[in-house]
Symmetry: C2
Subunit: 262 residues, 2 copies
């Protein structure tokens, strides 16, 4: 028996809307890989997206910001609602809450806490939000159901519970569409980065290799980067140039868009 | 007392999820105007979007298709989820269901039907879907709360209840973003149309006038139109050319996109 868990889950039942949840696809870039923040459940060791519920008097957007902050310590980062998942089978199979999931939750909670288990057995419609964060600034923190909270490379994700894989795929699809009309990267990359970093980030989102010189020419033509001097070390002439975003130019381009114009 | 209404609303309470609704932004094009399908409530004469609830065992997407069919008679048209509206104040002010709205609903329903009024007083999170339909094929049909169901020009909408105006604006914003990377029009325009029809449709979505020759050159360069012979009437030489979509070319271009490529 864990009194903290009982208190916490009882409070969720009292304070939150039943039937609606939030799942966050939190993306970061590190070691030339696009990564996503995942939680691993206690006991069953299954992987899930960070998520949570909406308080009865809380705006859904604010709930998403709260969940993001609880898991990463980050406030006021870019957070975007991308899709709501309303399949009747997403948490139920043939209308019946999966018995195995109920058993797992009981083990994870170290108690039956019947109020919470009953509450969470209802059909839930979940709204997906995605965030693009600087990995160096995030401090991953597991929730009450989880043992760990860690960054996993998007191109080799472990299996995820329920429809969480479809939620990740939809977030990436949304981001890929955005790349057709908006430049991105300012929230994902460190202050200074190489063109190869930028290319690897785009390749991670587009899920395809890009031709280096063509990519660099197109990106540099956007006029949103400052190039910095190479540092004079022994290997300086082999070191790639470092770039940063010219924030004014970047935000002007975001306003204008880079897609088809009429 | 209207027994039909009591039966219908009691069935909603029994069959549907409480707390989630759907609102449809149904767009059509006619008389060189972008139009939207609205319902006018009985008694209060207020205008609303067509909407409804999700049955307990029904996928949210299927609920949206059902509502679209109930209001327009149309099946299998293009229907796209665009955003979920989760403000805590959208149907409540300071957590209290608006007393005036309760009174209106009682008048409209010609009964108190306390079960339904209680049910609908809960906070609802609503998911917006938009459809692009051929006005000539739609058969508008009011729902149980409404007197009429009609097409209204988007550029001069009447006042709408609750946050329905914000829902319309978000749908149009979504459509404007789509125009940055996709051509549209195949679902909205009749089989044969003039370039001016196409321009008026784009102007209705983009909310700005477009320069005629530049617009026509860019559109014709997309290579997705068939030009038809002018009919030989007295005024033939002044009549504009009629075009239709080359469906194969259109769908190939949709696949490829027209936005920025990497």
């Amino acid at each position: 028996m864990n009194q903290n868990l009982i208190d916490l889950t009882s409070q969720i039942v009292d304070d939150c809307l039943q039937g609606n949840s939030i799942d966050c696809v939190i993306l970061g870039y590190g070691n030339q890989q696009l990564k996503i923040l995942l939680l691993q459940w206690k006991y069953s060791q299954e992987w899930t997206l960070p998520g949570g519920f909406i308080k009865k008097d809380e705006d859904m957007d604010n709930a998403a910001y709260r969940i993001l902050e609880e898991r990463t310590g980050l406030r006021s980062v870019f957070l975007n609602q991308f899709y709501t998942f309303g399949s009747s089978e997403r948490s139920h199979e043939n209308g019946v809450f999966q018995a195995k999931r109920k058993e797992k939750l009981q083990k994870i909670l170290e108690t039956e806490n019947p109020g919470f288990i009953d509450w969470i057995q209802k059909r839930f419609i979940t709204t997906g939000y995605f965030a693009l964060v600087d990995i160096a600034k995030a401090k991953p923190h597991p929730d009450y159901l989880s043992e760990t909270c860690e960054w996993k490379p998007v191109d080799s994700l472990p299996g995820l519970i329920m429809d969480h894989r479809a939620i990740v795929d939809k977030a990436l699809e949304h981001l890929r569409i955005q790349l057709n009309y908006l430049p991105i990267g300012i929230s994902l990359l460190p202050n200074k980065f190489t063109m190869l970093d930028l290319q690897k980030l785009y390749e991670g989102i587009l899920l395809k290799p890009l031709e280096r010189s063509n990519f660099q020419r197109k990106m540099l033509n956007l006029g949103i980067f400052n190039r910095h001097e190479k540092q004079l070390t022994g290997a300086a002439n082999k070191a790639p140039y470092l770039y940063s975003f010219d924030k004014d130019a970047y935000h002007k381009l975001i306003e204008k868009g880079i897609g088809f114009t009429y």
